[in-house]
Structure formats: C-alpha cells, structure tokens
C-alpha cells in the first residue's frame, strides 16, 4: 500500500523535510513519475481493503474512471513541480506533493470514508499554497478558503454517515439523489466543484496563492470533485442545468475582471460547467467527454496559469490594467500562452477541441437543445476571456512599457512541455481517447465539425475586432467586482458586530442583574446569619419558651388529626 500513488506522494512530501535543499526539487520531479509507474503497475482493481471501526475501507481502487484522472494528476504534478523548480520554500514544496497525493487518494478512494479523509486532506494541504504568500490578506483568504473547503468536508461526512445509516454501506459507487445523505454528499461535491453560488472560494483563493501555488491549485481540487460527481451522480439531470449555468455566468465576470489569475479562475469555473453538463447527461459519450475535458483542461489551464504566473513572477503584477506589450521580451511565454488560449477556446488541432466536442455532441444527441445552445454561447465566451483577453491584454494591447526578462528556463521548459501536450492531444486524440472510461467511437475531425467550430470562433473574433474598433469593448480598470461572496465578506461582517454586541450586552446586563440580586440576597442573608444576626443570636430563654409552647401545641394538635 505504501507504494500506491497517494502514499508515494505523502511519503515524498514527508521526506522533503529531511533532505538537503538541493535534493528537494529533483525529488519533486521524480515522485510523480514514480507514482505514474505505480498506478500502471498496480493495475485495475481494488487494493488495500481493510476494516476499521466497522467500516470496510477500500483505499485504492483503480478502474476505468479513476485511471485517467490518476494519470493526468501525475502529469500535472510533474509539470507544476518543474514550473516550481526555483521555489526554495519548504512549506510550498511539502504542500504541493501532499496536495497532489491527497487528490490522487481521493480519486482512487473506493469508499466514502476514505474519500472523506482525502477530501479533507486536499483542503489542509492546498491551503498552505495560499498561506505561503505570507501576507495578511493571504492569511485571511486562506482561512476563508479553508473554512469553505472543510465545510464541504463536513457536509460530506454528514452525508456519508447518513448514507451509511440508510444503506449500511459506505461503498463509493453510483449514489444518485435519493436521500438526505446523498443530497448532502452532492452539495459537498458541489462546493468543491464550484457550483453556482458555491463558487466564490475559487475566484477568491486562486489569485491569492503564490505564483507556483496557483498552478498547483488549479489542477486538483475541482477535477477531483468532477471525478466524484462522475462516480456518484452520473446521469443526474439537475447537473445538466447546473453545468449550463456554470458555463455561462462566470463569463461575464471574467470579462470585466482585472486580475488575470482571477479571470482564469472564472474561466476554470466555466470549463467545469462543461464537465458538469457531461456528468449530468451521463451517457458513455458524455462521461468520456467529461473525463477527456478534465484531462485536457488540466493541461491548458495549467499552461495559462503558468504563463500568467511567469508574467507575475517577472513584473510583480497580474493585473490586465498594468500589463501589455510584453510579447517583445517574453515571446516564449507569449507563444505558450496563446497555445493555451487556443486550446481552451477549442480551436481545431488543440486539446480543447477534441474534448469539448464530446460533451456538446452528447448534449445535442440527448436533446438538451437549450443546454446545448448555452454551451455554444459559452464557447464563444471562452474565447472572449481566455482566448483573447488573457494573451491580448498581457502581451499585446497598449504597451505598458514593462520590459521584463523572459521567464526562467525551468518555467519555459514546463510551459513548452505543457503546450506541446495541448497540441499533441489535439492532433492525436486517439491517445487520450484510449484511456477514457468507455469505448470511444467518436471522430472529432469531421469536416462539418471543424467548419462549424471555425465559424463560431472566427465570427466571435470578428466581433471582438469590431467591438474594439468601435470602442465598445470594456477597458481594463483597476476594480474589484462584487460576487456572491459579498454576503460573507461584507454583508454578514457588517451586521455581525452589532448582533454580537447586543448579545454580549444582553449577557452582561443579565449577569449583572443576577449578580446584583445575588449580592443583595447575600447581604440579607448575612444580616440574618451573621454572629449578631437573629438567626445566630436570637435563641435566648424567651425564644426558647416560645418555641416550647409552639411545639407542645403542635404535638397536641396532631392528636386532633382526622386519621386519629
């Protein structure tokens, strides 16, 4: 079991703390490779079955669904580690490996308890990538992130216990929305998957992480959530609509967002929407699409975060309003960024094209026409914020006058490899299709498919050009935009002090009142009971004679009692 992929990562992250500085970065590169070998080596099946506390745990389940996620997680960990070669901060390094391990563990968990543990572990490990920024704002953001992540965890815990209570099983297979327990689990997954209104942690946290941290963060948590949805809730129709909303609304926010890393976070949210739709449709084709999209998405989103991160690394900012014209001195970064942008925009020959198409096809095949149309619109939207905005405002647009040096060598290598993979998958989809959970008979490169996609994208580009020309395209401004997180960042905090103050005042006042009463009572009691008080000193002869009379009377009285 110690040789399983998650544990390899965990062990490596523990080992990091005890080895010299110069060996750490290489170890971080080696670990994902070993883990990948381990995943392949273990082969499909349930491993590490054990019984703790009446729970039958399946620590390591490799099957068609979890395998591709395992593979891409290892690749992502490798690329992120390479990108972070320069980092000397042990906290980040340990967190990176631990986080990747936890995500792998979650994907390979064969039961809900194990999943819960890894689920929490991803939260605990990943938050350090935010804390590592080391500023008070990062502290606050990290705490928000952690609390939401753990909220997801505790909901999962509550849900799994209820599920266990209902069914007596903790096996993690298809769950469906059948009981309160499964609903709670669904919400738990939904939080990590950034469902609408539960999404804010994503946009809040990713821009706050370190340069390299964001790359790591972008890969795992949400995709693990997609995996769990695919495992537990495939074919849940509600997901189709949730996903459709997810694809649409972040686009608007991304469009006007200034911080490019937050733009990418919104974009990530939008891409998750495609995957969620795929899960919701739940057919073999759709699930294949989800997995494939997750796979390719991890790559191009990493690539985009890497390129923006490289810019941040060199210039100290990732705000669109401060950037522009960087193509001159960072051409390689720029090219990689453009490749990433084209991949996410699903240009033919790029990875996004061959994965997103599966989902769109599944939607229309299953007659979700409205949803399908939403996805088409969203595809145009993806082009707007990720395909155009990111590269255009960073590297072109109006010249900011910044002349930073090209990204460091290791970053460039990491970006180039990632860019290569984006293109490779796009050109040779068979490789990716071969590891998808179900048999793939889909042909992405049909003429009509390429044509329609090119029409969509080119006319969208044309619209962009037109809007730029007539000046209707919004300018990049130094602004933040309110999202629903306003509720817990401004709304509740603004009334909380008042509420707290009144509760405290009530408490204080009632306590004071009670104390005063008690004190008065104490004084009264003391007056009676003190050495000179009547209780202590009132027992002279007269009192006694009186008492004698009373007692005599009392005893005689009982003679007259009816029961006599």
């Amino acid at each position: 079991m110690l040789l399983s992929a998650p544990f390899l990562f965990l062990i490596a992250s523990a080992v990091l703390a005890f080895i010299p500085q110069r060996l750490r970065a290489p170890l971080m590169l080696v670990t994902p490779v070993l883990a990948l070998i381990s995943i392949i080596g273990f082969g499909t099946g349930n491993h590490g079955v054990l019984n703790i506390l009446n729970f039958e745990l399946v620590l390591y389940r490799i099957d068609n669904l979890s395998f591709p996620f395992g593979v891409i997680f290892c690749i992502a960990a490798f690329l992120a580690s390479l990108y972070a070669w320069h980092v000397r901060d042990l906290t980040q390094q340990v967190a990176t490996l631990g986080y990747a391990g936890a995500a792998l563990g979650g994907v390979f968990a064969g039961d809900l308890v194990t999943l819960f543990i890894w689920w929490e572990a991803t939260a605990i490990t990943s938050v350090f990538l935010i804390f590592a920024r080391g500023t008070p704002a990062a502290m606050a953001t990290g705490m928000r992130y952690l609390i939401i992540q753990v909220l997801s965890g505790v909901l999962l815990l509550a849900g799994l216990l209820m599920h266990f209570h209902d069914t007596g099983s903790i096996a993690f297979n298809h769950l469906g929305l059948q009981s309160t327990g499964t609903w709670l689990i669904f919400i738990a997954f939904g939080i990590k998957c950034a469902f609408p209104l539960m999404h804010n942690w994503l946009q809040d946290a990713y821009p706050a992480a370190t340069v390299t941290g964001t790359v790591v963060l972008s890969a795992f948590t949400t995709k693990m959530a997609v995996y769990t949805l695919a495992r537990g809730y495939a074919g849940t129709e509600m997901l189709v609509y949730i996903g459709a909303v997810m694809t649409l609304f972040p686009i608007f926010f991304a469009e006007i967002e200034n911080d490019l890393r937050r733009v990418l976070a919104y974009s990530l949210n939008n891409q998750l929407g495609f995957m969620v739709v795929g899960v919701g449709i739940g057919t073999e084709l759709a699930l294949n699409g989800t997995v494939a999209h997750a796979f390719s998405h991890i790559l191009y989103k990493s690539l985009l975060f890497m390129s923006v991160g490289a810019v941040l690394y060199r210039t100290g900012t990732s705000k669109a309003s401060e950037l522009g014209g960087l193509y001159r001195t960072m051409p390689i970064t720029m090219v990689c960024c453009v490749i990433g942008a084209m991949a996410i925009s699903a240009f033919p020959l790029f990875s996004g094209f061959i994965s997103k198409s599966l989902i769109l096809d599944a939607a229309s095949k299953n007659s979700y026409y409205v949803v399908w149309f939403c996805l088409v619109v969203a595809s145009a939207g993806v082009l707007s914020h990720s395909g155009i905005k990111i590269p255009f405002f960073t590297f072109f647009a109006h010249d900011s006058g910044k002349r930073p040096a090209e990204a460091p060598m290791h970053m460039r290598i990491a970006m180039i490899i990632t860019a290569f993979l984006c293109v490779f998958i796009g050109v040779f989809p068979g490789f990716l299709y071969s590891i998808l959970p179900h048999e793939v008979s889909y042909k992405p490169y049909t003429f009509s498919h390429v044509l329609t996609q090119m029409q969509l994208l080119c006319f969208a580009l044309l619209a962009f050009v037109y809007l730029m020309k007539v000046g209707l395209h919004p300018h990049e401004l130094r602004r933040v935009n309110i999202d629903s997180d306003w509720v817990y960042r401004k709304g509740i905090p603004s009334i909380l002090p008042g509420v707290a103050a009144s509760v405290i005042a009530l408490n204080t006042r009632s306590r004071e009142w009670a104390l005063k009463r008690l004190e008065r009572l104490g004084i009264q009691v003391a007056r009676y009971a003190s050495p000179t008080g009547p209780l202590a000193d009132g027992w002279g002869v007269k009192a006694m004679v009186g008492a004698v009379v009373v007692l005599m009377f009392a005893i005689l009285l009982f003679n007259l009692w009816p029961n006599a």
């Binding site: 821009p207 340069v211 006007i256 060199r314 100290g316 006319f459 309110i482």
Partner: protein, 129 residues
C-alpha cells in the same frame, strides 16, 4: 513607449521569436490581419451553403447559424459584461485588508528582472528567491 523611466529596449535587440511579432505595432499590418480574418469569415460563411452538415439540434443546419451565434454571443457577452460592471465594480481596496487585490505581491516571491539583450540565455534556474 510613453513610460520613459523604464529602460528602453530597442526592437533590434529582441529575440528572433519576438521580432516575428513586431508587425502588431504597425497599423497597416494589423489592418491587413483584420482583412484576412474577415476574408476567412466570408469563406467559412459561404462554405455553409456548399457543404451539407450533419446536425442534431434544431436550426443547427440553418446556414450561418454558427457564424451568427459566434458573433452575437460574443457581442452579447462583452456588452452585457460592460453593463454588469456598472453594477458591481468597486474600488480595489473594497475588501481590504482581507483581500489580495489591494496589496502588491510580496517581493520575496518574485524575481523581477529587466530584459537584457546581451544575455538572452537565462541565468540558471533557481536564482529566484
């Protein structure tokens, strides 16, 4: 090049790769690029009438469906976002000090380096923090 305090880098000292993109500085060449794009769009639009597409969704087969959708969706999103901004945009320090928007990225995590034409080859990885 309005920011004169920054170190001036002449276009000649750029890497070959960067030089390939210098055309974006020229208004003519950009206009040319736009024309090319427009032309491409026209061709794609025409192809719709020529080629029979396989379709599932209603109206999907309507000629120009994707073209129109692309153009209108994009415009709608951009314009809609512009309206949205009027509603929800706030100054950068709105959430300060509990949000990173109002603060600079800490310098110790960065490696600011100006472009130096002479040493196109990067200094070794890891020279950062």
């Amino acid at each position: 090049m309005k920011n004169d305090s920054q170190k001036q880098v002449s276009d000649d000292s750029l890497t070959p790769l960067a030089k390939r993109f210098l055309w974006v500085e020229s208004a003519d060449k950009v206009r040319l690029a736009i024309y090319i794009l427009a032309g491409l769009c026209a061709v794609l639009f025409i192809l719709d009438f020529v080629v029979h597409r396989h379709a599932y969704a209603p109206n999907e087969n309507t000629p120009g469906f994707y073209a129109l959708t692309g153009f209108l969706a994009f415009s709608f999103i951009v314009l809609g976002a512009g309206l949205l901004r009027k509603l929800i945009a706030k100054p950068e320090d709105y959430y300060a000090p509990n949000a990173v928007d109002a603060e600079d990225y800490p310098e110790e995590g960065l490696n600011r380096e100006e472009f130096a034409p002479d040493e196109i080859v990067e200094n070794k990885p890891g020279s950062g923090s």
